[in-house]
């Protein structure tokens, strides 16, 4: 050990032990679950794997998951832009209340997120009789799944954009406007380029959750095969039928989605860290 040991560092041995301990802990708790998904998926060979994925019910589940994300993500993107524009560019009464309310869905259990829509639109729900009289079905149908997904992914884009736009202030926009640009043009040519990476970051996380949501969707879906079964729900059904290889095959697609999300997220953080919200760090 050198005589000039850095007093703000632990001993080398302590460091090595801590690093090894943390690496081992993360390997057991995070890496092993990921690895076993792929091992179990290919347990009965590559052919069974692809047969499981091209099964009509699996394909229907994949289509439904893509459809739900294709509605929920743009909906929350639009909300995120509107909310962050109002909150970051203006000062008004009740701003902090609005900010808090946007985060509300994060603190509600997924199951309760589904439950509230059942209480509202279900057969015994507040609007249930009216909906039934007009032949509209929301619960145990695709609209319910879309609504529950929008609810659980509600804060993602706004959470990323609000601190970012607050940090950037309104100076550049004011300049563009004083030079005669229209409001829309200012947003498109001044604001959007400034927030594009933050926007992508929010959309990425929003999409991952939208495609992977289980609890909320499970409550409103009714589990009708080939009709209201998203990929995570299909995983559950296959698993409960003891079709383990097939369950893990569908699960492996979702695991790949998670890996792609993590890689893109890390790339964005390393490459454009300065252009993302400063102290964001939110699930």
């Amino acid at each position: 050990m050198s005589k000039h040991r850095d007093v703000t560092q632990e001993r080398r041995l302590v460091q090595c032990l801590l690093i090894a301990g943390v690496a081992l802990f993360l390997a057991i708790f995070l890496v092993l679950p990921l690895v076993i998904v792929f091992v179990e998926a290919f347990r009965n060979g590559v052919r069974t794997y692809f047969e499981a994925l091209t099964d009509p019910e699996s394909l229907a589940a994949i289509r439904l998951t893509l459809l739900v994300a294709a509605i929920a993500v743009p909906a929350n993107l639009l909300f995120g832009i509107a909310a962050s524009w109002a909150i970051a560019k203006f000062d008004f009464h009740g701003k902090s209340v609005l900010n808090t309310l946007i985060d509300l869905p994060f603190s509600v259990s997924p199951v309760i997120s589904g439950l509230i829509y059942v209480l509202l639109f279900g057969a015994q729900g507040v609007l249930g009789p009216w909906l039934e009289a007009h032949g509209v079905q929301i619960i145990f149908a695709v609209p319910g799944i879309v609504l529950a997904t929008i609810f659980v992914t509600f804060p993602f884009v706004a959470r990323e954009l609000i601190p970012l736009m607050q940090q950037q202030g309104a100076r550049e926009e004011e300049m563009a406007l004083s030079l005669g640009a229209s409001g829309f043009k200012t947003f498109l040519l001044v604001t959007l380029p400034n927030i594009k990476w933050g926007l992508l970051y929010g959309v990425l996380l929003c999409n991952a959750r939208a495609m992977g949501e289980f609890g909320a969707v499970s409550v409103v879906s009714g589990h009708i095969r080939g009709v209201t079964n998203t990929m995570p729900l299909h995983v559950e059904i296959l698993y409960n039928e003891y079709s383990f290889a097939a369950a893990f095959a569908v699960a492996s697609l979702l695991a790949m989605l998670a890996l792609i999300t993590l890689v893109m997220k890390s790339l964005l953080e390393w490459r454009f860290g300065a252009e993302l919200a400063a102290r964001k760090r939110h699930p």
């Binding site: 007093v7 703000t8 690093i19 943390v22 802990f25 993360l26 995070l30 890496v31 092993l32 679950p33 990921l34 076993i36 998904v37 179990e40 909906a75 909300f79 509107a82 524009w85 109002a86 560019k89 203006f90 000062d91 008004f92 609005l98 946007i102 509300l104 869905p105 603190s107 259990s109 997924p110 199951v111 309760i112 439950l115 509230i116 059942v118 209480l119 015994q124 729900g125 507040v126 309104a170 406007l177 409001g183 992977g212 289980f214 609890g215 499970s218 409550v219 990929m231 995570p232 995983v235 383990f244 893990f248 699960a251 695991a255 998670a258 993590l262 997220k265 890390s266 760090r281 699930p283």
Partner: protein, 284 residues
């Protein structure tokens, strides 16, 4: 029309930027329709039931057992997450070693991996014939289909919260504090435990509270590994689902209200604790 203009102008400060009415109006409408109205319906339903009926459902043995399982195990998992998360954040922020960035990126896996996938993966690992389950069986520990399995799943999904709240705070620590402590004759462990860790305690509490809140509501990653035996390994969210499947909306509503209420009280206590420690430490 002019009335609306006045109302808007009174609401906000002067600004040259356009689109306030549109942006705020759209945000509030969407927030109301998607979040506030549905949540209000839950509260109204609970009020409709009345206090005695609510209490009758909540004090039912099975409900109480489920709430105990959910909150008890979530608390334990959050404690473990607090300790492990502190170690992970410390190592990632303070040390430089090959593979650090990979470990850092990996910490977010529980956020990115759909809960149902995590659930069946953990079950496969910890089942008596699984990779880890068979090892643990040799020393007489059964994980899958017991409360211990629930605990493992909750540790998995809660891990990123403590790490991600602590990281920026640890990065911000001024090295001069440590140098001062060392000059004044403190041993390294004294500096760490008496100078550094107390300053990150409020952030640690935030991470702890986030992990706890997430664990209490968690469903997907738990139900596969839990075994779901009433009174033993049945979590409160699952009991809500069971009540809904029986079309017992009152039961589901009451349990949900109890969960939200207890979680709210817990978070309030943690918040007060945070204010108290901040004041004691002389932070803002």
């Amino acid at each position: 029309m002019s009335g609306r203009r006045n109302w808007l102008q009174r609401l906000r400060q002067e600004s040259a930027i356009p689109g306030f009415g549109l942006a705020l109006g759209y945000s509030l409408t969407w927030l109301g329709l998607i979040v506030l109205v549905p949540l209000a319906v839950l509260v109204l339903r609970a009020l409709e039931l009345g206090p005695s009926e609510l209490w009758r459902i909540i004090s039912d043995d099975r409900t109480r057992a489920a709430l105990r399982v959910s909150f008890g195990l979530s608390f334990l998992a959050a404690v473990v997450n607090g300790i492990a998360g502190l170690a992970v954040a410390w190592v990632l922020v303070r040390y430089r070693f090959p593979g650090r960035r990979l470990l850092d990126a990996l910490v977010d896996l529980p956020f990115a991996l759909p809960t149902a996938v995590a659930g069946i993966a953990l079950t496969a690992l910890y089942a008596p014939n699984g990779w880890l389950g068979s090892l643990l069986k040799m020393i007489g520990i059964k994980v899958a289909y017991t409360p211990l399995g629930i605990f493992i799943a909750l540790v998995f999904i809660g891990l990123p919260f403590v790490v991600r709240t602590l990281q920026p705070v640890l990065e911000d620590i001024d090295h001069e504090i440590e140098e001062a402590a060392a000059t004044l004759g403190a041993r390294r462990w004294q500096t760490v435990f008496q100078v550094l860790l107390p300053t990150v305690f409020p952030a640690w509490l935030t991470g702890f509270a986030l992990a706890l809140a997430r664990a209490v509501g968690e469903y997907g990653s738990v139900i596969f590994i839990a075994g779901n035996i009433p009174y033993v390994s049945e979590i409160a969210p699952l009991l809500i689902v069971i009540r809904l499947e029986e079309f017992n909306y009152a039961g589901a509503t009451a349990i949900a209200t109890a969960m939200l209420f207890i979680a709210f009280v817990l978070l309030l206590i943690i918040n007060l604790l945070q204010v108290w420690t901040r004041r004691r430490l002389g932070h803002v």
